[in-house]
């Protein structure tokens, strides 16, 4: 669908478009917006945020209202911009990792993987199978954790406060697992270029499997809590519908796109980690409304549990990091016996490793969509440019399409289901 042709039939808009206001049916491009607005009598522009609890961070929305109906919406962001991309240019590669983790603060393992993957591609470094499996386990745990926070806060915005506590209970279990493997609950800096920073401790696999036994039951409980909640159903069904074509035009990826019926998941199509070894499905929606987005996220958690279980049960033995001493730190115990290891350690810690000139864009499937890291190297030990293509940033463009023509109360539901992380948007 081109921009000039955004007129949608009720069929394209989903289950029932009856009761929708005209502006949503007319279209959503700025050109048509003006013609749509000319018919209106009076608009009232209000400011939502930046410190509104329902904005999931520090997002400001300029909303034009006609009565209770949203006629136009402009997101204003940048309130938590900290210049991480610029700071990354001043640091050697291994020091960039903790910076990038803090961008999208709910998907730190994904941020690390995107950056480490890009640098590994530039170095043409293969990571050992055990490291790849450990990365998969942690990333899928992180995906569940991120969806849990998203689900809990969404339900909180829609008035179901108990969901928030239940989701955060399981989230805490995951954070305990992170603490066990890396010593930190958030921003773990567990991945390093060439593998992971250290092997998992004894008992970690058992704890993860316990979690895998527990989690499907918990997901059923969440579904029981929300699927039989009339208020939740009325707030989410048929609200915020955006067609698949429009989402693709806007570059939207992740659960939002899958809820609209496009089975696009980078875990299936790119071989950045050994996802081929695991059996899992891609949940998709049919309508693309908020209810579908919630269902897709819920089922993605189930699929993540399946992946984690298979990864833990098939976890290969072997080294947890590549055996390239020019890049990966030598094991601690070698420092007291081997002069060479000491030299490597010293060089890596003081100067860092050098990356041959080149450019790499490394896309992975984050919890919110395509998370791409773009790295330019010039042969020195610091990157020339690090850019994160954050899915929240791109997905936020779809918020206008979701909200225009709906009620202002639906705006809250739409924003919550969009699940933006402002740390990732502002970087």
């Amino acid at each position: 669908m081109s921009i000039a042709d955004t007129t949608r039939t009720p069929e394209q808009m989903g289950r029932d478009a009856i009761g929708r206001t005209e502006a949503q049916v007319i279209g959503t491009s700025p050109i048509e917006r003006t013609s749509a607005l000319e018919r209106e009598e009076e608009l009232f522009t209000i400011n939502m945020g930046p410190h509104h609890p329902a904005t999931h961070g520090v997002l400001r929305l300029l909303v034009s209202l006609e009565g209770e109906v949203v006629r136009d919406l402009k997101p204003v962001m940048g309130y938590v911009h900290t210049g991480i991309e610029k700071s990354a240019e001043q640091k050697s590669y291994w020091k960039v990792i903790p910076f990038l983790e803090r961008m999208d603060y709910l998907s730190y393992y994904f941020n690390m993987e995107a950056f480490c993957g890009a640098v590994e591609r530039l170095l043409e470094l293969e990571i050992p199978p055990r490291a790849a499996y450990l990365r998969v386990i942690h990333m899928e745990l992180n995906r569940i954790h991120s969806h849990l926070v998203g689900l809990g806060t969404t339900a909180l915005d829609l008035g179901a406060i108990s969901m928030f506590w239940y989701c955060f209970r399981e989230r805490d279990t995951i954070l305990d697992l992170f603490e066990m493997s890396s010593g930190a609950r958030m921003h773990t800096r567990y991945f390093q270029v060439g593998g992971v920073i250290e092997d998992i401790p004894v008992g970690f696999e058992r704890k993860v499997l316990e979690f895998c036994d527990l989690m499907p039951e918990r997901i059923d409980q969440y579904a029981a809590l929300l699927d039989q909640n009339e208020i939740f159903l009325q707030r989410t069904r048929n609200t915020g519908v955006v067609s698949r074509e429009r989402l693709l035009e806007l570059g939207v990826t992740g659960p939002l796109l899958r809820a609209a019926g496009e089975p696009w998941d980078l875990r299936k199509v790119h071989d950045y980690l050994p996802y081929d070894d695991f059996e899992f499905d891609i949940p998709i929606g049919t309508v693309g409304d908020n209810y579908d987005r919630y269902r897709v996220r819920l089922n993605e958690m189930r699929e993540s549990v399946r992946i984690i279980r298979q990864a833990v049960e098939g976890l290969p033995e072997g080294p947890f990091a590549a055996d390239d001493r020019k890049v990966v730190l030598p094991p601690r115990h070698e420092l007291s016996t081997s002069m060479e290891s000491l030299i490597h350690h010293f060089k890596l810690v003081t100067e860092g490793f050098r990356v041959p000139p080149g450019e790499a864009y490394f896309p992975i499937e984050g919890p919110r969509g395509e998370l791409g890291c773009f790295v330019v190297a010039d042969g020195s030990s610091k990157p020339v440019r690090v850019h994160m293509r954050d899915p929240s940033f791109v997905n936020l463009q779809a918020l206008r399409d979701m909200c225009v023509g709906g009620y202002v109360a639906d705006l809250i539901a739409n924003l919550a289901m969009l699940d933006p992380i402002l740390g990732g948007i502002d970087r």
Binding site: P30, H81, K86, E249, G251, V384, R427
Partner: protein, 176 residues
């Protein structure tokens, strides 16, 4: 991904339609890159999006790079994606530095890929590249009254004083 010969074929196809649009190609780490001149970026992307056999109809990322001291200095990267074939193609528009206070200019691809909206604003915000024809080209992450292009390589880090209540009288223009 198109392989190296496939990339050459694409380059040739584009060049027969738009004379001199493709300046070169590069193929590294399995990633095909088309180098194009800034003047013909919209034509090239429209062709790659719509021509049968190409159909790179998703713009998955758009970002700017400052290659100082290389010449041409700036580049805007377009990471295109064809979903059915799972092929990625990078198009790189090269922009020379016009010098002085003048800003490099490039046509906006908003008409071809509406998803470029925020990302073009981001490149404008950080690199000072003007996108001609963008409907709403304002700063997006930095404050609207900010002066300078912070992600350029010659922009210093830490050049700004941090304002606290006890130091605000030392910052010119802060207290009226």
């Amino acid at each position: 991904m198109p392989d190296a010969p496939g990339l050459e074929l694409i380059a040739q196809e584009v060049n027969t339609r738009h004379e001199g649009a493709v300046l070169g190609t590069s193929f590294e780490h399995g990633q095909a890159t088309l180098l194009v001149s800034g003047d013909s970026i919209v034509e090239v992307l429209t062709y790659l999006k719509e021509a049968p056999g190409q159909e790179y109809d998703i713009l998955s990322s758009l970002h700017g790079v400052d290659y100082l001291p290389a010449e041409p200095r700036f580049a805007v990267h377009y990471e295109l994606l064809n979903m059915p074939r799972v092929e990625r193609l990078r198009v790189k528009a090269l922009l020379p530095d016009p010098g002085g206070d003048a800003l490099p200019e490039l046509d906006s691809v908003y008409g071809v890929f509406p998803g470029a909206d925020f990302q073009e604003r981001e490149v404008y915000d950080f690199f000072g590249i003007l996108f001609r024809g963008h409907p709403d080209l304002r700063r997006i992450l930095m404050p609207e009254d900010y002066v300078g292009w912070p992600q350029r390589r010659d922009f210093p880090v830490g050049g700004e004083p941090v304002i606290f209540t006890n130091t605000e009288h030392t910052v010119p223009g802060w207290i009226r």
